[in-house]
Amino acid sequence: MNRAQVPLPGIRPPLPLLRRLGYLPPPVRPLDVGELAALGSLPLRARRLADALGAGSHTSRRKGASIEFADYRDYQQGDDLRRVDWRLFARTDRLHLRETHEETPLRVVLLLDISTSMAYTSRPGQLSKLDYARMLLGAIALLTRRQRDSIGAALLTNEVVKWLPPASAPRRRQAVWSLLDTPPSGIATNLPAALDEILDLAPRRCLFVLASDFYDDSERLAAVVRRLRYERHDLLALHVADPAEVDFNFADPSIFCDIETGQQLSLDPAAGASAYRKKFSAHRDAVHDSLAENGFDHLFVRTDGLPLDPLRTHLARRNGHS
């Protein structure tokens, strides 16, 4: 091989230099919980998370008058003749009505459990369960408003603390964020009672997005979930848990103090870790089963990670893209 045949080495300018000169976009960093926690305020966190989740339009499950074709059905006496598809009649000699999707606004009600247990974080400086739930609900509120759907919110403890009915007013998003930013109540949870109360207040056919740690009796919870289904509401349950609650990886003997009840228990963690994990899993599965039996979604999320993919999947399913 002579010198002319030797290929020249490729010139690869350093990427940081190109970026500094504006020839390349900044590198895309994956979103993580630490970054969200550092953002400080709920609007910023909600926007960042909403951007990461992306947006999709809701589609109504009801059919009505619009331009988007949904289905044909046979003519029945009393139907409006204006809706008969005459072209199809000319081809088939039978009367069919053309049905279209009715573009109805979606009423999304965000429910945030602000009981004392939600203020727990096992890692100082990181997001508590409440902050994490606020962030998730805030992002969903932003996405909802971007689709111009109605949105409402409520704060729950052992009752409905505050209630903001769903509305599509432009300023409703800000009102929702303000409501979600309410500090924890210092009151123990009674989720079934609070949900019963909210069902009395809410309009029909709402999509409830409930963020809670679900520390309540699963049997009582099942009853109110059945009522949700009966009243044709939809529910997305965000089951928020701290990593320490899931793993229970404490090492040294300690006096464990219940945040809500103040009850104390002197315990060697190694002695009860295995039994704890079993009970915790059983409770989580019971919550999941009672929701799934009624056709509702249950998404278990840990505060040390972001459930972007599961949440996207849930939202896409809501939008009819699944």
Partner: protein
Amino acid sequence: MNWLTPTFLFGVAALVLPLALHLLRRRVVTSTPFPALRFLAASKADQRQQLLRRRAVLALRCLALALLAAAFARPFLGAPPAPSARATVVVIDNSFSMQSGTRWEDLRRWTHDQIGSAATGDTLGLLLMNPRPSWLVAPTTDVSAALTALDALGPGWEATHAEPAVRLAGDVLAATPARERRLVFMGDHQAVGWTGADFTRQLPPGINAIFPSAAAAPASQAALSAATLSREDDAWIATVTVRNFTSRQSRVLQIFPENAVEACLTLPLDLSAGESKILRLPLPASVGTSPAYIRLSLAPDDLPADDSVWAIPPVTTTARQLLLDAGPAGGLADHMGTAFAALTNMPPALSVVPVPSAAWPPAALAILRNDTSFTGEMATRLDTFLAAGGSAFIFVHGGSAQRQWLADQQINVQPAAQPSARLRDWALEHPFIAPLVSHQLRNFIGWEFLRASSLPADKIEPLAFWEDGTVALGELRLGAGRVLIAGFSADRREGDFPVLPAYVPFLHQSASYLLGLASATGNTSRVGSAVILPESPGDWQALAGPANLDSKSSVSGSVQPATPGIYQFTQPGSPPQLYAIGLSPEESDPAPWSSGTPWDNLIASDKSAETPIATRLATASSEAENQNSLWWWAFAAMAIFALAELSLANRTTR
């Protein structure tokens, strides 16, 4: 239990660490807020089980740490060396000259006086002189048991060899950490017992050697020795040597056929002072045509042990053939041929012939010292000869044919690393070596050869070693034959071996051993030396003499009789063989050492050269620890406990 390096036991203080951590961990001072206390109510059984686990982990940690410290401290079992104690070794002359009069009792009483009363930690050892130094009671703190053994002991039938036992006792005492170390010589200072002793070489410093005064010479002492029985002109002739060691005396010699009470011949003897005479005595017909053995006895004198001897009729054997290959080329003297030619005049009967070019006679001995017998058809004949039960003595001379033949037998001979090599260690207990070295070991020390070969230790039973530890002389079985292989040549040009004093006895013993003819010398065996027997086991029983006539033992290969007399070796299917065992004739001379007390020179005068007691203590402890090492047991236990701790700790932290 004692410790070689007890300083490491301070490492046990490290136990404070896990104990402190455990106790601190138990003090619950922190409060942990937790939202899910409803799932956390652990059962009391769980808590108790967890508590037990934690205590087990603590115990395992402490045990592992303690065992680690103990392992480094090198524990050992055994009595702790006591630096303040007194160590005594009694060197006991168990020769038959001690049977003279009250000599044994007097010396034993004197020994008791020297030992005195023992304090706690004192040690006492009893070392027998003859035939080689051996412990009757190894040094022990159980002094009363040792004294009981001394009281139960009687004089033996050996010949005195004082110096080796005294040297061994000195070396043992030198390594003893005791404050006072004493060597008590319980002997009669017979002059022949100290023959060859080097009185200029002192015992190790710090040893107090105590010798008794020389025993009084017996007033009347004569001895019989070298008795034989032969057949001449249809009459039995008894031949015996009579020696008088005292002044002129008249004695009566009687000859008894077998165990008869009545003598068949009585002969008065008039012995002048110091006279030694050989008597040839025709026996009367009353002795019978084929007596099994006879006993010749003098009337008892002050030393009755040597007043009786036994003789057996000669064993009629045909001369066994010894095949000798060609001597050295170049007209040099054939030392080996000359030596074997001379040995044909001595028992066992040998017939020395050249290695035949036809088939080799069976049951012969081949002495092979060059390449001719390992080449071509000769090698085939050699294989056949060995397969048929023939024996051979092979001198490795470096020839290629010999080396190849040996390699074919899986014996790879390697040239020694050094251009010249010395023989160092002999297997002293081996029946081939034991008769050679029982009387004079010195002649077998320091054989030097200009060319030497090392034999494979895994294929051959070592009989002697070179200085580098490789095998110089060994024995093995090839086919049905017994073969000795020497890693040296018998050529005069390659060493002084052919002109050494031990050369002819070595060849003689090798021929007797390889042909299994030692039984032919039945009248020449002595107490303390090995009697060569067939390798298959048989019964060994005393028929006459001071030994217990009722006891019978199973022996094979060789036996070392402890008393004189007539012994019978019986094997199923073979006629019984008799052996007449005599005493060492030189021991009969009771003359004490006459010129001063040179043994006093053995005591080291330079006290400053004495090894410090701390060093001796450390050495004794180190030796005791080497014999009873426990540290690796401690390490093994520590490893097991550490693994158990790891396993259990993993189950207690989560």
